[in-house]
Symmetry: C2
Subunit: 699 residues, 2 copies
């Protein structure tokens, strides 16, 4: 699989034929009987009627099929704004269009190009919003060791700043090497192989799910800090926010620059004002830190320091976004992306360090009812309008960060599905050009997680960083391997940069997984290999399907290659229950197949047999009949067993099983008609030369 160019396209499920396939098709086509009566088709396939409306149309998914004048042998499904149909169908169509919007043509899919000023807010909302929970997560751990613990905030923050800079420098190399976008899955698969690629993907999937859960919980906390009276409804509010994100993304909310720009720049400005005001206050106090008097519940241990470091490092989540999105930049893409990454890293370091510094001078202690940022805001701005702006922009940027995950998660699933690691359903774009299946999957999993953890940011954080740093480590290690292999211009410098990033990320990964294992990281440690195993199973299955359906080894079955069915010796079997109109229709159809026909009827006892024979004789016994007695009253097993045995007599002939099927028009009446036919169908469908024909009879 060529993973170098990640093309997101509606035709990804329709790859071009390979040369081997074309060769096989030519060979098979030469043996295939070309239909001579091609002109005999009694209907004109190019001029289908436009009157009929689909009876089973639901929720306004109405599509009219119309002929286009362009070409012979080509019709087009036209979007029908539900002017036709019954009243309720028109209403459902209107409802769907109003809620989700009209369907978008595949041709509407085009990559928008962003200037650096637009790209910065679009691609960095995830990373910058981490400032809202990163420093707090660090302080939550340190406060356990009381005042002594809090004193360690500054050195730990310094280490994290170093980490941010190292990883950013590393990603600058990735951007140059993958101008078409270098997501961790693609980079790791490309250079290290599928297993590391899958590990990175599994880590990233966990990351995206947690981005939604953590951003939403943190955003809700920003709101409840400002309005404590609604704190009790935090979980329902968060679920509502996820539902809103789901809805917006199903509508196909584009990453429109303007939507992102205003809140992100507003957040940046507000944060800088906060830091400046806070530092001026601190200068007024002579830069003396307020020492809150807190009783330590545990001593300062290496474990505690590492845990605080790991928690604070969650501020780095989202830093990889720019390297994923290089193709979205204006040319020269990689150069602009690099510059933007540098800006972002600078801003992230500033905000992170500034926040930690303020918390230090102010002596902020995290509480369960108010976020650290809110406390700093109160101290700097009181309860004035600036405080409200701070909380509002914080909540907004966190919402945007969660939205980023709704863009990236389905896209990752798309790539996985393209490579056979995820169900093909994730290749499909909905009628708004969004990957609806992946969007719904993310919303469901994130909601479950959010509710399971009571919407508590501090409890979610331990799960967060493991997946992120797994993906960081793998993608940067992959870059090291790449530089070593390709030895492009300037490779030693780049390799050192990526190597540094990889080593630091690996250290953080071990710290995260080790120190927070019992607090929830075990879940990620268990789930990542489980997801990898599942992906691998899916791939094995799809590969088996590809092998089985491969044209290169396929031969048209013998009876289907001969000149006439009677020569070939195909035959048909009609399974009859009651001799009613549905059964006669099936019998008539089978008789028209120009094949020898056998009728089979199953009875539980003598009386039933006599009843049937009476009717059959009156009908004139038009085909041969076999009565199958089932004295133990089983239906499916003996019928299937008999048909399989019959087929086994001449297994190379094609046996067509004709089944009269009563189809209730209403859903509720289905259980009234048993499942004999569908169970029979399932068993027989595993035989290579059995064809199943339903003659439906709608009632």
């Amino acid at each position: 699989v060529d993973t170098s160019i990640p093309l997101v396209t509606p035709s990804a499920a329709y790859p071009p034929p390979t040369p081997e396939e074309l060769q096989a098709l030519r060979r098979l086509g030469s043996e295939f009987r070309v239909q001579d009566g091609r002109e005999a088709l009694p209907v004109d396939p190019g001029k289908v009627s436009q009157r009929t409306m689909l009876p089973g149309a639901r929720l306004g998914r109405f599509v009219r099929v119309g002929s286009t004048d362009r070409d012979v042998g080509e019709v087009e499904a036209v979007f029908d704004p539900a002017k036709t149909g019954t009243r309720s169908e028109r209403w459902a169509g209107w409802l769907r269009r109003t809620a989700i919007g009209p369907p978008l043509n595949s041709t509407a899919l085009q990559q928008e190009r962003m200037s650096k000023k637009v790209a910065l807010p679009v691609l960095s909302s995830d990373a910058l919003s981490s400032v809202a929970y990163g420093p707090q997560a660090m302080l939550v751990v340190l406060v356990l060791a009381g005042t002594t613990g809090l004193d360690l905030a500054l050195p730990i923050a310094a280490a994290i700043v170093v980490l941010i800079l190292a990883v950013s420098i590393s990603y600058r190399q990735t951007i140059r090497a993958y101008p078409h976008g270098g997501g961790s899955y693609i980079v790791a698969s490309d250079n290290l192989g599928h297993v590391p690629g899958l590990a990175a993907a599994a880590g990233l999937m966990g990351d995206y799910i947690l981005t939604v859960a953590v951003s939403v919980s943190s955003g809700v906390a920003a709101i409840t800090s400002a309005i404590p009276s609604i704190a009790g409804a935090a979980v329902p509010i968060g679920v509502g926010v996820i539902a809103l994100l789901l809805y917006g993304n199903l509508r196909g909310l584009r990453q429109a620059g303007r939507i992102f720009a205003i809140p992100t720049y507003a957040f940046i400005v507000t944060m800088i004002v906060l830091i400046v005001v806070g530092l001026i206050d601190a200068a007024g106090d002579g830069f003396v830190a307020h020492q809150p008097n807190i009783v330590a519940t545990q001593g300062v241990t290496l474990l505690l320091v590492l845990r605080a470091f790991g928690s604070g490092a969650t501020a780095m989540t989202g830093i990889e976004a720019i390297s994923d999105g290089v193709p979205a930049f204006q040319p020269v893409e990689w150069r602009n992306a690099r510059t933007t990454l540098t800006w972002m890293a600078g801003l992230l370091v500033t905000l992170f360090a500034g926040t930690t510094l303020l918390a230090h001078f102010h002596g902020t202690v995290p509480t369960s009812s108010e976020t650290v940022l809110s406390q700093l805001g109160h101290s700097a701005f009181g309860t004035g309008p600036m405080y409200v702006v701070l909380q509002a922009t914080t909540a907004l940027i966190l919402l945007l960060a969660a939205n980023t995950a709704f863009n990236d998660f389905p896209r990752l699933l798309f790539f996985l599905a393209r490579d056979g690691f995820a169900p093909k359903a994730f290749l499909r774009m909905g009628d708004r050009l969004a990957f609806s299946n992946g969007i719904v999957a993310l919303a469901v999993v994130a909601t479950v997680l959010y509710i399971a953890f009571d919407g508590n940011t501090d409890r979610l954080i331990p799960l967060y960083a493991v997946g992120v740093f797994l993906a960081f480590t793998l993608s940067q290690s992959a870059m090291v391997v790449r530089w070593w292999r390709l030895r492009e211009r300037g490779w030693p410098h780049s390799m050192v940069a990526n190597g540094g990033g990889a080593v630091l990320s690996a250290i953080v990964l071990l710290v995260e997984a080790g120190t927070k294992f019992t607090e929830g990281a075990w879940l990620v440690v268990v789930l990542v290999p489980a997801l990898m195993g599942l992906a691998w199973l899916i791939r094995i299955h799809y590969r088996a399907v590809r092998r089985a359906t491969a044209l290169t080894s396929f031969e048209v079955p013998w009876p289907l290659r001969s000149e006439s069915p009677s020569e070939a010796g195909s035959f048909a079997v009609v399974a009859i229950g009651r001799l009613d109109a549905a059964a006669l229709k099936a019998l008539a159809y089978a008789a028209e197949l120009n094949q020898p026909v056998l009728a089979v009827h199953l009875v539980p006892d003598q009386a039933a047999e006599e009843h049937f024979l009476q009717a059959w004789r009156a009908f004139g016994e038009p085909v041969r009949l076999e009565i199958l007695r089932s004295p133990y009253r089983a239906l499916v097993a003996p019928l299937a067993q008999y048909l399989l045995g019959l087929h086994a007599e001449k297994a190379d002939l094609v046996m067509t099983v004709v089944l009269p099927e009563i189809v209730p028009r209403t859903l509720w009446a289905r259980p009234l008609h048993g499942r004999v036919i569908s169970r029979l169908r399932r068993i027989l469908s595993h035989e290579p030369n059995v064809v199943l024909t339903s003659v439906p009879f709608a009632v």
Copy 2:
């Protein structure tokens, strides 16, 4: 529907053809093309191979199909004791046979005839066991009015005794009139019509469900009264007992006389000993009642008296069992049944009156931890062996009573299904000749009810009697109508007897429904009409199906009557996704149908179209192709819409839609293959002249 002779037979779903049907069949048969090539069948349907084993066989449901030498055109499904098959299949077969037993041949179904001595325990366990909860239910109400209230126990019990006698005399008439068995549903349907019949059936169904729940809860109470330490586990124990009953009845536990005789007679004897010993004790005290000193929480009101009466009347549940089971008696059936009914009524009156009398003299007050019967036992026998015997036989007879419901409920559903009021699935007998579907349904509903009411007898009782007395009232009213209509010998006497029973039952019904409405009877009052409505809907549906599939108005569709398909102008459409081996197989099959074939392929965009055309041209374009563009990426809707439009061009032609279908062998892989085919199938199956052919490709 002839409901006079309730035949329970495996061939109930296979009724004999009516004269009209036979006439229609003769007419249709004369138009039907008799297949000339009857001898051309390339396989011998009478000599199927016995080697093949069903691959999908589950849980040992293996059935071999073998030819019998008896008749040409007849093979038999033989029970295969799983000597063949894979190791795991053999093991599953052994497990099933050991747990459920080997399947029983339909011929094994025969009515066992019972002597009066055997019939008494078999048919009266339900009624007699009611003594375990009836008197207690009455006292639970009376105790609310304190000592004054308890004084009313004797007069109320006397009224109930009168009621028992009147209803018994009434049922003596039913027995004579319905020697083939006169269940309330049959008697009411027969004489009053379907609506009252359904009301009786709905009431009885509630009765059977509550018999299970109340008998189990009361039986568990008998055990926990003796062994208070396990009282905490009462609900799980009760659920276990229901599971045991389910298991036993799925095995097809016959109503073997001996199994029932010992515990029932033991219970009768023990109860009589209890009453005698108790009365002797009371005589020693000079028949002075102990007056327990209880504070009344409410006054003695008419409502209270009526509620106590209604609760005590639950002791009558099960009294109709003998009239249902007349055909099971030795000849002369009705005479023996009548005598047995008289014995049972006598015993019921004795036990009920005796228990109430004892409770009166002993001053027993119901408590939540010990049953009234257990208190009386303790007082008469101390904690000695006789007490243990009393509790054990009480628990056992209650278990048997619950088991009775497991026999009657599925039989009632069978009759309802025979008349089209319930899903046909309830007509089917499992491989142990039991109505497995009805048995499972009863167990599920009873378990839900039991758990919902915490296994508390006193809370279940208010629901109990409404359904019973509804059925009593309707069946006895039906008898009055019957006597008036037929005027058989001695009809005035019988009519008076039934009339008296009906009036008294109706009064009790009103008392039950009125006084216990808020305590739970409302549930029955709501559910009975709901069940009746559902049954009626089911019947409407089945009648519509019968009308639609009726032969009398059926004409073989025109294209299926002509001499050759090319004349008729039938055509086939193959829906192709990828041009892989599965698609080619379907194309080859379609080409063999000797009909004009059209291939249809759906694409989301230009690139996908070009990819497909490349392959199609290499293949040599053997049939006409239509490319269907779906720029909004919907799959099912445009495909179905196009096919419907195509069909609409010539709606009287038969269009065969050939669908290549990838069938994964493993269950877990199914979601990996989408549901396009099955959704398409569902939409197209509503068209009268569309036939759906799957060409399965197992992977």
